[in-house]
C-alpha cells in the first residue's frame, strides 16, 4: 500500500477549506480517502483471478450564499482547481438549509480497524476458498462452484470549516461462495457471503460450506408450491431485504419531501409489537460501524421502532435543518447497521410451528416494485415448502407479493437466535400472497 499521506493531506485540506472561505463560501468541508485492497476468486472450482487495488479520492462541499455543491476528484494536484470549480458552481447549487458545519463534539469510540484484518494474507484467502470448493466437490463433483475472498484497509480525513478534523481508519474482509446445480433445464443456485471489520471467529469457511450443503440437500425433491395467502419463514438475510422499504420510510429526506408513507406518524403503532428496530453504528467491527458522519456529526444509536411504535426518523445535517429537527449523524439519512431485536423462540421452534408454509431463502427482483409504498414482489429464487413443521422440498416458478407495512403489522414471530454478522433473527410472517404455476 502507498504509505499514509493523511498527515500531509491535513494541511492541504485545511488550505482548501480556507481557499473556499476566501472565495466567499460560508461553509466548506473536504473529506480525503485513501484505500487499498486485494482479493482472489475461484471459477468452476479453480483459482481464476488475483487482484490488487489502490486509490484515493477527495470530496469537497461548499456553501455560497445559501447554496451548496459537491465536487469529487482523485488527483491531489487538482485540489485547488476543484475547490475553485465548487465555488463557481455553487451559485447554481442546491438550497443549503444549514449555515455552518457543526463544531467539534465528543466522538463515540467505535472499533473499525483491525491489524489482523489489514494483514490478512492472500494465501489465507485462497486457502479458505479452496477449503469450501473441496468440501462441496466431495458432496457433488458436478457442482459449478464459484468462491471469492478479499480484504481492504482504508483511512480518511475530514476537515470542516466548523473546526472538525477527524481521522478514521477501517478494515474489512469478505469470504463467500456460490454454487449452481444444473439438471436439464432445472437450476438450483445458492450461495453465502460473510464479512466483518475484524478477523475473528466469523471467518469460517465451514459455515459457508454447511449452509450451501443444507440448501442442496433440502432442494433435492421439487414439490408443489403453496398458493394464496401463505405463512412464510424468512432467514436473517431475507429479513434484511424485507426491511428495505422501512429503511426508505424512516429516511428523513423521504419524509421531508413527502414521499415516505410514515410522514406525520411518529408515535403511531405501525408494526407488530414484537418489532424493535435500531440503527446501531456503534457495534465494534460491524459492517456499518462508524464514529462520525460526512458532515462532522458524531453518530449515535437510534431506535427507529420500539415495540412496533415509530420513534424516530434519520436525518443528515441538511435535512435536519430543513425540517427543524436534530441531525442524527446519518449520511444521506440512511441507517448504518440495523439490528432487529430477537424474539422468544428458536428458529427451529418457529419452523416446527408451521403446519403449511413457505421458507423463502432468496428472491430475485425484490426491489423492482413500489418499495416506497411498502410494496414488494419477487420470484422465489430458492424456497422450500414447509409441511408439518418440516422442509419437504424445493418450490419453483413461484412469486411472492405483498405490502411490507401490512405484512409486518401483526402476527410477526421473531427467533431468539440472530445472525452474528447481520444481527437479524429469523421471522415468520402471515398472509404473504404466493402465486405459482
Amino acid at each position: 500500500m502507498r504509505s499514509s499521506t493523511l498527515d500531509q493531506m491535513a494541511d492541504a485540506l485545511q488550505r482548501g477549506v480556507e481557499q473556499a472561505q476566501q472565495r466567499g463560501a460560508s461553509a466548506a468541508k473536504i473529506r480525503f480517502r485513501q484505500w487499498e485492497s486485494n482479493g482472489c476468486s475461484f471459477e468452476n472450482g479453480r483459482l481464476k483471478e488475483a487482484s490488487a487495488s489502490e486509490g484515493l479520492a477527495f470530496d469537497i462541499e461548499v456553501v455560497v450564499d445559501g447554496r451548496k455543491v459537491s465536487v469529487t476528484g482523485n488527483n491531489v494536484d487538482d485540489l485547488r482547481e476543484m475547490v475553485e470549480r465548487a465555488v463557481t458552481l455553487a451559485s447554481m447549487g442546491s438550497v443549503a438549509h444549514f449555515d455552518a458545519y457543526p463544531a467539534p463534539a465528543p466522538v463515540p469510540e467505535v472499533k473499525t480497524f483491525s491489524e489482523r484484518a489489514a494483514s490478512l494474507p492472500r494465501e489465507q484467502m485462497i486457502e479458505g476458498c479452496q477449503g469450501i470448493v473441496d468440501a462441496l466437490k466431495r458432496y457433488a463433483p458436478d457442482l459449478f462452484i464459484g468462491a471469492g475472498s478479499g480484504r481492504h484497509r482504508a483511512e480518511s480525513l475530514l476537515v470542516t470549516s466548523g473546526g472538525v478534523c477527524h481521522r478514521a481508519c477501517e478494515t474489512g474482509w469478505g469470504l463467500g461462495a456460490h454454487v449452481q446445480r444444473t439438471r436439464g433445464t432445472d437450476m438450483l443456485m445458492t450461495g453465502y457471503w460473510r464479512g466483518w471489520k475484524d478477523l475473528n471467529e466469523l471467518w469460517d469457511p465451514a459455515w459457508i460450506t454447511n449452509r450451501i450443503l443444507e440448501d442442496l440437500r433440502n432442494g433435492e425433491p421439487i414439490v408443489e408450491a403453496p398458493t394464496g395467502k401463505t405463512t412464510v419463514l424468512l432467514p436473517p438475510e431475507a429479513v434484511s431485504m424485507f426491511l428495505m422499504p422501512i429503511t426508505m420510510g424512516v429516511n428523513g429526506r423521504n419524509v421531508a419531501k413527502g414521499e415516505s408513507p410514515l410522514r406525520g406518524r411518529l408515535g403511531e403503532q405501525i408494526l407488530d409489537p414484537s418489532i424493535t428496530l435500531v440503527d446501531n453504528p456503534h457495534v465494534d467491527f460491524a459492517n456499518g460501524a462508524t464514529e462520525m458522519d460526512a458532515d462532522g456529526v458524531p453518530t449515535r444509536v437510534n431506535t427507529l421502532f420500539r415495540a412496533g411504535v415509530l420513534e424516530r426518523f434519520l436525518y443528515d445535517l441538511d435535512t435536519a435543518a430543513m425540517v427543524g429537527a436534530e441531525p442524527t449523524g446519518n449520511n444521506g439519512c440512511s441507517p448504518y447497521f440495523l439490528e432487529l431485536a430477537p424474539g422468544p423462540q428458536t428458529s427451529d421452534a418457529l419452523l416446527a410451528g408451521i403446519e403449511d408454509g413457505l421458507y423463502v431463502k432468496s428472491l430475485i427482483g425484490f426491489g423492482q416494485s413500489n418499495m416506497m409504498n411498502g410494496d414488494v414482489a419477487g420470484n422465489v429464487a430458492l424456497g422450500f415448502r414447509i409441511r408439518g413443521g418440516k422442509l419437504t422440498g424445493r418450490v419453483k416458478n413461484t412469486m411472492i407479493a405483498g405490502n411490507v407495512y401490512d405484512l409486518l403489522r401483526a402476527n410477526v414471530r421473531l427467533s431468539a437466535d440472530r445472525d452474528p454478522v447481520l444481527h437479524m433473527p429469523y421471522a415468520v410472517i402471515e398472509g404473504v400472497s404466493v402465486s405459482a404455476t
Partner: protein
C-alpha cells in the same frame, strides 16, 4: 498516451497484458420537489492492468500513471500465482492506432449549465403542476464525458471518447398513506438535444403517477400477457440475453449443453439480436474494452439458438468467434461479457390483431426493473391494463412477471409490426458493474400463460 502505455507493457512477463486508462468528467443535478436537491461534479482518472499467465488472471487497479510500471509488474505477478493451465484468448482484428473522437449533433459541453438548469426546472414545474395529487418530484440531469485509452501486449491501441447524457423525471403521487410513483428517462451518446422538447412525455409521466393511486393491484395468477416495446425489450435482455453471455457458460459443461447452438428456443418468427455496432446508440461502440470490433450477433434466428456473446477468453474456450461484448463500466474494473443493443425483431401482426387474440389478459407496459437468475427471470411493469375480449381496459398496478426462460420463449405466439428501440437512462447490472448503458427493443409481443405476482 500510446507511447506511455506501450512502454509500460514492455514490463509485462505474462502471456497477455492490457492496460485501460480513463479520464472522466461529469456533472449532475436534480430537483426533488420544488427545490434543487443536488448539484455535483467530478473529475476522475484511473485504470486497470489485466495480465493472463497460463490461464490465470492478475489485475492491478490504479488511479495515477506515475506507478504504471509497478502496476504492470503487480498484475503479472498475480497472474503467475494463479495460472496453472494454458492461456486461451481468441484472436480479434483489434485496432493498432484508432482515435475515435465523439461526434455530437449538439455537444453538451457547449451548453451553459444555467441553460440546463432552466430546462430541468421547466420539466420539474410540469411534473408538479400535472395533477393536484402530485406530492413531490425527482427530476434530474447528468452528463459524463469519458476518454478511454486501451493498449495490449498484442499491439492493440485505441482511444475513444464516450459522451453520455441522461434526463430522468418522475413524480410521486399521494393519497393518505398510499404512495404511487411514475418515472421515465431518456439518454443519448450523440446529442444534447435528446433532453429537449420532452414536455409531453414529462406530463404524461406525472399524470400516470396520479392515476395509479386509483388503479387496483393486479390479482396474482397465470395470464396471457401482451408486452409493450419497452417491456418486450427488457424481456429480451433479462430473460434471454443474460443467459447467452458466454461467461455464464464457458466453464460450465451443463450450461453449455443447455445453451448449445442449434437448440430450438421458440416459434419460427422469433429472432433476437445483440448489436454493438448499431447506429449511434448508448450501447454502441466501435470496439469493446478488449479492443475487439463490435458486431451484429444473432442469438436466436427463426426460433433456433445460433449465437452467444463473447469476450476473447470465452470465445477461445468455446471454439467460437469473439463478438465484441467485453465491456467495463468504468475505470478500475475488468471487462466482462455484456450486452449492447439487444432486441427482438418485429413481426407481421398489427397491434390490433395481436390484442384480438386475448380474451382475458394483461397489457403490461414500461418497466420498473428486471432481474434474472439463470433460467428464472422476473421483471416489473411500471403499469398495465386489463385486456378483455381483445380490448384494452382498466389501468392496473403492481404487475410483476416471472417464469422460466425456456418455457416463456416458447410461450411467445405473436409479434407486432411496430418494432422500436428504447434508449432510456439507467442500464444493465452484472457483477457489481451497474448501470452500464445499453438499449433494448422489441415490437409488441404476446405471451401465453405467464405467472404474474399480485394480491
Amino acid at each position: 498516451m500510446k507511447d506511455r502505455l506501450s512502454e509500460a507493457l514492455k514490463k509485462s512477463t505474462a502471456d497477455y497484458t492490457e492496460i485501460r486508462y480513463e479520464i472522466e468528467d461529469s456533472t449532475s443535478f436534480g430537483y426533488r420537489g420544488r427545490e434543487v436537491d443536488r448539484v455535483s461534479s467530478s473529475k476522475l482518472a484511473g485504470g486497470i492492468v489485466r495480465a493472463c499467465t497460463r490461464g490465470g488472471w492478475g489485475m492491478a487497479v490504479f488511479d495515477t500513471l506515475e506507478d504504471l510500471d509497478r502496476q504492470v509488474q503487480e498484475a503479472c505477478q498475480a497472474a503467475a500465482l494463479v495460472g496453472k493451465e494454458k492461456t486461451e484468448l481468441a484472436d480479434a482484428a483489434a485496432p493498432t492506432d484508432a482515435h475515435v473522437v465523439a461526434r455530437m449533433e449538439r455537444d453538451f459541453r457547449g451548453v451553459p449549465l444555467d441553460e440546463k438548469l432552466r430546462l430541468v426546472a421547466h420539466y420539474n414545474d410540469l411534473l408538479l403542476g400535472a395533477d393536484p395529487a402530485i406530492e413531490t418530484t425527482n427530476c434530474g440531469y447528468s452528463e459524463t464525458f469519458r476518454t478511454v485509452y486501451f493498449a495490449s501486449s498484442r499491439g492493440a491501441y485505441f482511444m475513444e471518447e464516450r459522451p453520455y447524457v441522461v434526463l430522468h423525471f418522475g413524480a410521486v403521487a399521494r393519497d393518505g398513506a398510499l404512495v404511487q410513483m411514475s418515472h421515465d428517462s431518456v439518454s443519448s451518446a450523440t446529442d444534447y438535444g435528446v433532453v429537449q422538447g420532452r414536455e409531453a412525455l414529462v406530463e404524461e409521466t406525472a399524470r400516470r403517477a396520479a392515476a395509479l393511486l386509483k388503479a387496483p393491484k393486479v390479482e396474482g395468477g397465470t395470464y396471457s400477457v401482451i408486452l409493450d416495446q419497452r417491456l418486450g425489450g427488457v424481456f429480451a435482455h433479462e430473460a434471454f440475453g443474460h443467459l447467452s453471455e458466454a461467461d455464464f457458460l464457458y466453464e460450465n459443461d451443463q450450461m453449455r449443453e443447455l445453451m448449445h447452438l442449434g437448440r430450438s428456443m421458440g416459434v419460427k418468427e422469433l429472432n433476437i439480436v445483440d448489436d454493438g455496432s448499431l447506429d449511434r446508440y448508448v450501447g454502441t461502440h466501435p470496439y469493446d474494452d478488449e479492443g475487439t470490433p463490435t458486431q451484429k450477433t444473432y442469438l436466436i434466428r427463426e426460433g433456433v439458438l445460433v449465437g452467444h456473446l463473447h469476450s476473447l477468453e470465452t470465445a477461445a474456450k468455446m471454439g467460437e468467434k469473439p463478438t465484441g461484448n467485453a465491456r467495463a463500466i468504468r475505470r478500475g474494473v475488468p471487462p466482462i461479457v455484456r450486452m449492447t443493443n439487444t432486441y427482438i425483431e418485429g413481426g407481421n401482426l398489427s397491434p390490433e390483431e395481436l390484442f384480438a387474440g386475448v380474451d382475458r389478459g394483461i397489457y403490461a407496459c414500461s418497466m420498473l426493473g428486471g432481474q434474472t437468475m439463470m433460467e428464472q427471470f422476473t421483471f416489473s411493469a411500471a403499469y398495465g391494463y386489463r385486456i378483455e375480449n381483445g380490448q384494452k381496459g382498466e389501468l392496473i398496478r403492481d404487475i410483476v412477471l416471472t417464469g422460466n426462460v425456456f418455457e416463456t420463449l416458447n410461450a411467445i405466439d405473436g409479434f407486432a409490426n411496430d418494432f422500436k428501440i428504447i434508449q432510456a437512462g439507467g442500464g444493465c447490472g452484472k457483477g457489481g458493474q451497474a448501470p452500464l448503458p445499453v438499449t433494448f427493443g422489441a415490437p409488441h409481443i404476446r405471451l401465453r400463460a405467464v405467472v404474474v405476482g399480485g394480491k
